[in-house]
Symmetry: C2
Subunit: 133 residues, 2 copies
DNA sequence: CGGGATCCGCAATGATACTG
DNA sequence: CAGTATCATTGCGGATCCCG
């Protein structure tokens, strides 16, 4: 059948919308910042360059894999730079780029809102949960 | 064996750290905002109250399930209110609460950075990909 | 020291059908 | 109209072993 059902139309609209959605800068950024360890890594590097091991010790919650993956993503996006110093043993330093530093104020805005309003959120959550299990 | 291996110690450190991590307001907020459709929904409701169907049409990329789930989460966190008007057919309106509105400037900060810097991010990404496939 | 490679479980996401 | 219920998928996050 070549009949165009309503479902087909909806599916097409979805796909078209999602193409635009994936390209939307805001959502791309939110997606990145929503990555579990991105916020922590940026906060750590905000205070200065650090070696891989230092980061790993500062953020013991992240597995090696996730820490490396997070660092690679941020490097790919140009938010931080990775510097390898050939020696024995090898030394690798991570540092925020100017672009990465320009993101810090945004991150701080998020942090400030979160700290100031987390109480209200928790109260709302308790009220919601109490009212209807 | 009751021997305490280094792996055990690391596992404990991880768990302890993660408990604190889960409680960190910033990460909780980033997690929520990172939810795929939260940004879109907030942007839509920023312009005024809307009915469920309006939202669904404005955001065709989201399935019914995900839209409803997103709305429920935001309602639970006290960021928006859900008003049911008993009628035939039923009418349900969603509206940002003051708390939800107070989050808009933060979201706008994210949007502004994203729009201004997405070009650099894309350039960095192309450079990274070109250099090492 | 700073990873890479691999395998795995589970939760997030989604498509579809049905309901008050 | 505004959902709920159900089932399928997939990929994130993680554990573990190995390497230069």
């Amino acid at each position: 059948m070549t009949a165009r059902t309503a479902a087909d139309a909806r599916a097409e609209a979805r796909d078209a919308y999602r193409a635009g959605f994936a390209a939307c800068p805001t959502n791309r950024l939110l997606d990145r910042m929503g990555d579990k360890w991105v916020g922590l890594v940026l906060k750590e590097l905000a205070e200065g360059p650090q070696r891989y091991g230092e980061l790993a010790r500062s953020i013991p919650g992240a597995s090696q894999k996730m820490l490396t993956q997070t660092l690679r993503h941020l490097e790919r996006d140009g938010l931080l730079s990775r510097t390898v110093t050939p020696a024995v043993p090898v030394r690798v330093d991570y540092e925020l780029t100017p672009l990465g530093q320009s993101l810090l104020p945004v991150l701080n805005a998020v942090t400030r809102w979160a700290e100031q309003n987390i109480g209200q959120v928790d109260r709302a959550r308790r009220a919601y949960d109490a009212q209807q299990g």
